[in-house]
Symmetry: C2
Subunit: 251 residues, 2 copies
């Protein structure tokens, strides 16, 4: 039997929005600082509430448009997971349906409704975790070995992200890493077309090793089947111009 209407949990949509800075070669995640309760002044992932007349995927896209004002015809979204721990948000029963969105550009940010500040945070690999860094602000990542159950039990570090968003980001990075060898949609942050050099820069961050240790020749041989050629790029500096590729079986 359906639950009484008053007992229905809130359904929030939470996005991990990925981007890439071509100058600093950093992989970026969007965080914003709320200016209202709960979690006033703390940083967290962009969140909205699901409307009755839209699917969760549609809501994830709406969220990107609302928070960023980006008006691209179509983004690629992927469901990450649903977070349902009873006490994940204090004083409120809400589920988080989480989605990943890959922005093909790095838009200028303007704090929108409900946000005091908004920034791109660089994924910064450490020994056994990934920190998020934006200028003087650093959020320490959840250690690789920590399970979800352990996360909800331990006391959060200071400063910490909204609710369980640190766990959501850890899960997102795990997912992205797993897919590197068979469906590296994270490369969509480079735009629809990219060179192998750019691809190696992204892989280097996620593999937690210097780009220089990823052999050009071998990378091509082991990952070429994931890409299709799509012409040749303009040479921007000295050196032979690279071919450009796009992901196989993705728009």
């Amino acid at each position: 039997m359906p639950q009484p209407v008053s007992n229905r949990p809130l359904i929030s949509i939470t996005n991990i929005i990925w981007s890439f800075d071509p100058v600093t070669k950093q992989l970026l995640i969007l965080l914003l600082q709320r200016n209202h309760a709960p979690f006033k002044e703390t940083w967290g992932l962009p969140t909205t509430y699901l409307r009755a007349d839209e699917s969760a995927d549609a809501a994830a896209l709406r969220l990107v448009r609302e928070k960023l004002g980006v008006q691209l015809a179509q983004f690629h979204t992927e469901q990450l997971g649903t977070f349902t721990a009873v006490a994940r948000v204090p004083d409120e029963r809400s589920l988080a349906l989480t989605y990943m969105v890959y922005l093909p550009v790095k838009p200028q940010l303007v704090p929108g409704y409900g946000a005091r500040d908004v920034r791109w945070f660089a994924v910064t690999p450490r020994q056994d975790r990934d920190d998020l860094v934006a200028g003087e602000l650093t959020f320490k990542g959840v250690a690789d070995a920590v399970s979800a159950a352990e996360f909800y039990q331990q006391t959060p570090p200071v400063p910490s992200l909204t609710a369980d968003h640190a766990l959501i980001i850890k899960t997102a990075l795990q997912r992205v890493r797993n897919r590197l060898d068979y469906a590296p949609t994270i490369l969509l942050v480079l735009g629809s077309h990219f060179t192998l050099k750019q691809a190696r820069e992204v892989y280097a961050i996620l593999w937690r090793r210097p780009v220089t240790t990823i052999d050009n020749s071998n990378f091509r041989k082991t990952h070429a089947h994931l890409f299709v050629e799509a012409g040749t790029a303009q040479s921007h500096s000295s050196g032979r111009p690279a071919k450009v590729y796009r992901l196989k079986s993705v728009g």
Copy 2:
């Protein structure tokens, strides 16, 4: 801003409950036939509604206990995904949070509250899909090549499963197949301990090929790192008794 309470979608928990018949060597999924609207008399996956004071994982476990009366201390559950298409259930806005449960035994089934009938359906591999078969009842699986978007557009076959449950089952099988080479939790249907022969029987179904084509020696060498030895089994028939294994890093 939170959505008005009256607009909040229903949150249902839908389970793919896996089991295994050691006699017929069939991989099984539990389906039940409802005796009330909506979907009266149609077959579908067991479903319940999320309560305010429980996590979705807890609800998935409760569902197993309610529908099966199985009283094991602990099952292994895994989140499969969340299905949110607006029209996935006619005349009702509901989300399906789906979970996989691996039963270490094949319990006798007794139709519980709200169910007219309940049965184990054998996963039956075809060329490009997997059908579900229980005696004279057969449900045709969704073809491998069909995307989620395509599924929701096309008209369902007759007989068809409740709402989008055929899509959920296709997704579940996909997930299980993907995990065979690095985290084959599906083997928990064999109980906590199993022989390599039993494991190959499960793999054969999911790889859609006869057991006899899976070389014992090679299977051991390629998948041994996923298992740990745990003693020796009794020999039931003639032949050398097999060692028993359990999954690495799973209770």
